[in-house]
């Protein structure tokens, strides 16, 4: 499973890079979207998903563990924890999704503004133009 998702990540990164390098604005947006999907898939793979690990939630029968227990467990037994997927990569993914979505919508807005301005003679100046006064 890890192998498949790793290969899939590589394909997504490659396709994203290819699309970003093209000139068309639509390709740009799609490229960024694929790139961020690739990143997220990579993080999911890092979190470990082999179909057997449980979600990191307390279920009936579990006892609440304090932080000291967790630290102890980290040093003592690996089997104890192996039943859970690691929650931290999922927290990373959540943040990445939010930021990625915001970025993508801003990029789309920017590109559509740039397209609107095309043909306007003010937009073709190569230099710096007038000050922000």
């Amino acid at each position: 499973m890890d192998l498949i998702s790793s290969c899939m990540t590589a394909v997504l990164f490659a396709a994203g890079t290819f699309l970003i390098l093209r000139r068309s604005p639509v390709d740009l947006v799609l490229g960024v979207a694929l790139f961020s999907t690739g990143t997220i898939l990579l993080l999911i793979t890092i979190g470990g998903w082999d179909g057997e690990n449980r979600a990191p939630l307390l279920q009936s029968g579990d006892s609440m563990r304090t932080l000291e227990d967790v630290v102890d467990a980290e040093e003592q037994s690996i089997e104890q924890q192996a039943r859970y997927t690691d929650p931290l990569p999922q927290a990373l993914i959540l943040t990445a999704l939010v930021i990625g979505f915001g970025m993508l919508s801003y990029l789309i807005a920017l590109i559509s503004r740039a397209e609107d301005a095309e043909g306007d003679d003010r937009s073709s100046g190569a230099g710096v133009g007038d000050p922000g006064s």
Partner: protein, 511 residues
């Protein structure tokens, strides 16, 4: 040490208050100025603490070091906080004097600037990769908007390039942080430092390090990735440009200094150090060649940012106390001088209405004080001896020769000469000669010179007090290269013991 949260919290709170007063630019100015003014004494006090040998640490929620969010202040981050506060205050002053158009200022200029400042301070204080990622994203989001505030005047193609490259860099950063976590089970710098050096095939840690190097190189505008900077910066709102020029790329430089001394120490010694030196040489050379070839003040100055960053990375690549100290001293000098130069460039653009070398001329007659100020910082940038730029370059050259890095030393001296040449180019075209039409009848509005005067005094003070300041840079470099203080601050006595003895902490690698 709750004081550590203030450099982040004060601008954030001020930003929130600014949002309540969207209609009144005056109130927004006052709030932003009060926040900037409050940051100055706080950051100087923090520098005083750090210089005295303390390494204050703030554990949010009092979680143990490797689990929670931790803010750490060592000498380097304290120095960066002071420089950020000074640059922020002078840039705010410049903006309030009328460097920002009223329309832009109504378009949430002050809240965005405060958000940017909060995120920059956050990046200097945070002690883990993920918070660094988040602060980077906040820096970028606010700078995207600040870059496009006066966007209807220019085409947006350059801004799109800036957004695109930085978005990709952000995703690569996330991938690198995820890979580091997957391999070592930690995101905290101190924790990572303990685990990375125990990693046994080194190629894994080297490849994670390389990915981070690429990310920070994009942020810092290093050699193969600098092309986003020189054409997008001159388009930013003039009222925030000095802060952009002084601080944004330096956040990337700071991260390189932090990560490649503390976390990837062994990899840096064997693998990254020559690579960094090569990148530094190429960055200096290509940056300055770009500057020599341009014909407008802001474009020349933007290219100089790139070439100057080469010097800082040169210092990091040397990885000796003197080299890193010179690099840190150079960062301090560069931030003050570069933001002053951008204040001057912005002033000329506002007053005269143009910054094209061939259109503007004879400013010595109409603006004698400005000419004097420009001369002082321009020579300082080029590294003429009594001024502040000399000491960092001198230290780098001495250490480079001692380590036998002749090629990079030669490039750095050549770059200095070319820097001087391009500064003289600005001087001869813009300041000397007969006043041109647009100088005789300035199109723009009058604007006071005070922030520029104060910043020039600051950079002269750096030259006058170069002895104690270099001693501070040296102690910061020793602290960075040793790493013990940082690890002790985050992980306590036990962590420090393990760091010194080289034992593993916990098990490495979570899944």
């Amino acid at each position: 040490m709750n004081l550590l949260v203030l450099p982040v919290l004060i601008p954030l709170i001020a930003m929130t208050f600014c949002l309540f007063f969207g209609r009144s630019v005056r109130v927004q100015r006052f709030i932003a100025g009060a926040a900037g003014g409050a940051l100055l004494p706080i950051s100087f006090y923090l520098l005083h603490l750090a210089a005295g040998g303390e390494t204050p640490v703030l554990r949010l929620g009092d979680w143990p070091g490797s689990f929670g969010i931790v803010f750490v202040l060592d000498r380097l981050s304290a120095l960066m906080l002071v420089l950020a506060a000074v640059t922020q205050a002078s840039t705010w002053w410049f903006a309030c004097l009328g460097a920002v158009g009223l329309r832009e200022e109504r378009g949430w200029f002050h809240p965005l600037f405060l958000l940017l400042a909060a995120a920059v301070n956050w990046a200097f204080l945070t002690a883990d990769l993920f918070n660094l990622f988040v602060s980077f994203e906040i820096i970028l989001i606010s700078s995207y908007v600040l870059l496009t505030l006066n966007a209807d005047r220019f085409d947006l193609a350059e801004t799109i390039r800036f957004v695109l490259l930085n978005a990709v860099a952000g995703m690569l950063f996330l991938a690198a942080a995820g890979l580091a976590y997957g391999r070592y089970g930690a995101l905290n710098f101190a924790d990572l430092a303990l685990r990375v050096r125990l990693d046994d095939p080194t190629w894994i840690s080297v490849s994670i390090g390389t990915l981070l190097l690429v990310v920070f190189a994009i942020k810092a505008a290093l050699f193969p990735f600098f092309f986003w900077l020189p054409d997008s910066y001159p388009r930013a709102a003039l009222g925030v440009l000095p802060y952009f020029a002084g601080m944004l790329t330096k956040v990337g430089v700071y991260c390189l200094f932090r990560v490649f001394t503390l976390v990837f120490r062994i990899e840096t010694e064997t693998w990254f150090s020559p690579l960094l030196l090569a990148i530094a040489g190429a960055t200096m050379l290509f940056g300055v060649l770009g500057a020599v070839s341009r014909w407008s003040i802001l474009h020349i100055l933007s290219f100089h940012i790139i070439s100057q960053i080469g010097y800082m990375i040169f210092g990091l690549g040397l990885l000796s106390p003197l080299g890193v100290a010179s690099g840190i001293f150079y960062i301090a000098h560069h931030i003050l001088v570069k933001s002053t130069l951008f204040l001057i460039g912005g002033y000329i653009l506002i007053r005269i209405g143009s910054d094209e070398l061939k259109k503007v001329g004879g400013l010595t007659r109409s603006e004698p004080l400005l000419s004097l100020l420009f001369l002082a910082v321009a020579f300082s940038l080029a590294g003429i001896p009594p001024l502040s730029g000399f000491y960092g370059k001198f230290g780098l050259a001495i250490d480079g020769v001692e380590q036998g890095r002749w090629i990079v030393v030669t490039i750095s001296i050549l770059t200095s000469l070319l820097t001087l040449a391009s500064m003289l180019k600005i001087w001869t075209y813009v300041f000397w000669g007969e006043p041109t039409d647009c100088v005789v009848k300035p199109a723009g509005k009058a604007i006071a010179l005070w922030p520029i005067v104060v910043m020039v005094l600051f950079s002269i003070a750096v030259a006058v007090f170069s002895g104690p300041l270099f001693a501070l840079a040296e102690s910061a470099a020793l602290q960075l290269l040793d790493g013990g203080d940082y690890i002790h601050a985050v992980l306590g006595d036990e962590g420090l013991e393990r760091f010194r003895s080289g034992e593993p902490i916990g098990k490495a690698g979570a899944p």
